[in-house]
Symmetry: none
Subunit: 195 residues, 4 copies
């Protein structure tokens, strides 16, 4: 998402960047097209020349964001890794992504729960990411190295654990110590709290 964007300097891109800023600062409803236009140094009509509606602009944005997270993780899940290593990689990548794109992640967590079409769409995207985790869990189970838990439950649990823990720190006051968070989550996810 953001990477691609930095290459071109088209109006479309200016708008896109501005939209990320504004949506993450204010949320979908509170953000106005005027805000975005001002941030992009573009006339309001110009946004409508490039995007059909506020909704569509937002959808594009979230789509690219989730895709980026998913692809980033997927591309690193090479065949030579063990299930355990894959889980570690997923946790590390997700923690890193949340640190790098905090604002986008706030959007995601804010706007994915509800019954509007947009929100259903977002949950579908998130599920496509969770599916990656589920696949790894299944592999582990098939290989006999993981306990017999529902892959779906494990997928959402691991995503949720990392997401909420990351945002909890990022939206609090302290520093975001990615290494400590990773080490703690890895401990819990793989070996549990109990000694």
């Amino acid at each position: 998402m953001m990477k691609v964007m930095f290459l071109r300097k088209s109006k479309t891109n200016l708008i896109f960047q501005a939209a990320i800023d504004v949506f993450s600062e204010k949320g979908f409803d509170k953000a106005t097209m005027d805000d975005i236009a001002a941030r992009a140094n573009v006339a309001k009509g110009t946004i409508y020349y490039h995007f059909k509606s506020k909704e569509e602009l937002f959808l594009f944005l979230v789509e690219e964001g989730v895709e980026m997270l998913r692809e980033g993780v997927e591309s690193k899940l090479t065949e030579d890794l063990t299930p355990r290593e894959k889980i570690e990689l997923i946790l590390r990548e997700q923690i890193s992504f949340f640190g790098q794109y905090r604002d986008f992640c706030v959007i995601l967590l804010r706007e994915s729960w509800g019954a509007e079409d947009r929100q259903l769409e977002f949950r579908k995207m998130i599920r496509s990411y969770m599916a990656l985790i589920e696949k790894v869990v299944q592999e582990g189970k098939d290989a006999g190295v993981f306990h017999d838990v529902s892959a779906e439950n494990a997928g959402s649990a691991l995503f949720g654990m990392a997401a909420i823990a990351a945002l909890h720190i990022l939206l609090g006051k302290g520093d975001y110590d990615e290494d400590k968070l990773f080490s703690d989550l890895k401990q819990i996810a793989l070996s549990g709290l109990l000694k």
Copy 2:
């Protein structure tokens, strides 16, 4: 909150119930006072007779909800339980609460991320619940039965794991199998994925 509410049939309560419905369906911004009034079969002015503003109505609602979750859990965390049993209890209670008050939980997950005062307030409430978990984790560490992970990280991780996994099922199509979810999360949280 909801329990007490069901007993009385005051206007205040009608409004409260309607507000839960509407806010969870549409979120804070999209929900209108007209919606809530219509759902409660009350004139719009009546809402303002009982609550100072939309914001205040919402705040009350979330306050009572989180308090109910927190107190429900806290009251059951008796001294005779081991840390392991306490973690199990917390997971079971939270899973049950999410099943019972799905709409409220959607509200909580939707509206807690952002920089508005209201949102800061919500996160503070959630933190007061997480603190319960942190305390138990600390106990376990002190007793030498839990691994040495940051209690804060563990607290947000366990809350997030259960919250997201629960909502993932509740907002999907399938049934909400509390027992299976509990058993899976207990497994991961206490002993991890690895055999």
Copy 3:
């Protein structure tokens, strides 16, 4: 008005007093029945038990106020006074009244200009006061001691001169020096600016 009021301690009177305070502070439109009820330490319904409407309450209030000014002046305009002395008396009385009932006078000046029934009513009241002045001017003209100016013009001019000059001081920062104001207005009204 105010004098009579202080004698009784009925609810009606409590409301009346509160209404004067609130109306003069906020004006007719901005003043609310809640304000008045709170100031009178009375339930809102009680006001409606004693007065038919906000409008009526206001009307009563202004009626009594103007009547008090008019009667106060009229009762002192004894037959033994010369027209010149009468003009002096009118000026002195009006200046004194404005000083004593500043808030009420603000109401009067605020709410008398417009086309609503209430406002027409107020102007009629004011005209009944101006009529006193006109009569004196006519007397002076008939007696050959006043110049030949339209009595009506003179009446409104003298009322306006004293009213605006008084409020100009009363709403400004300085002290309200009634004697100096009287002496200046007397000078202008009777002998003019020119030496």
Copy 4:
């Protein structure tokens, strides 16, 4: 204000004109933005595109009106006139202005008395006009041709005399005979009622 306004036919101007009409008819509080929009044949949103708020629109309006009166008078107060001629000129101009802009003058007299910021602002504007009169009175005193009255008292008295007398006629039923009113006020202001 009005003069310039009549030249252009911009939306801004349409709104401005409509606002004068509506505010003078109903007063600030009772006038609604819907009224103004309807009168201007403009969508309500259009008003907000050109003016930040009802308050701001109103303020602009009064500002320009008073400024027009002040400048109109000031520009004619040339050095070659005697104090007496200047007072005459001021009276004539003010009487003419009130006749020409009756509605605006109603607004001014209605909305200048109270403690709201807006009203303080208006009184400040009026004082800037009164200052013109005070200066002339001072000149007359310095030149030894006027009696020794407080310039401030004389300023507010002359303004008030002309304002109230003018509106008294304009809001009554009869014709507005500017010449007679001028001749009467000149008589009183310069030479007084007494022969």
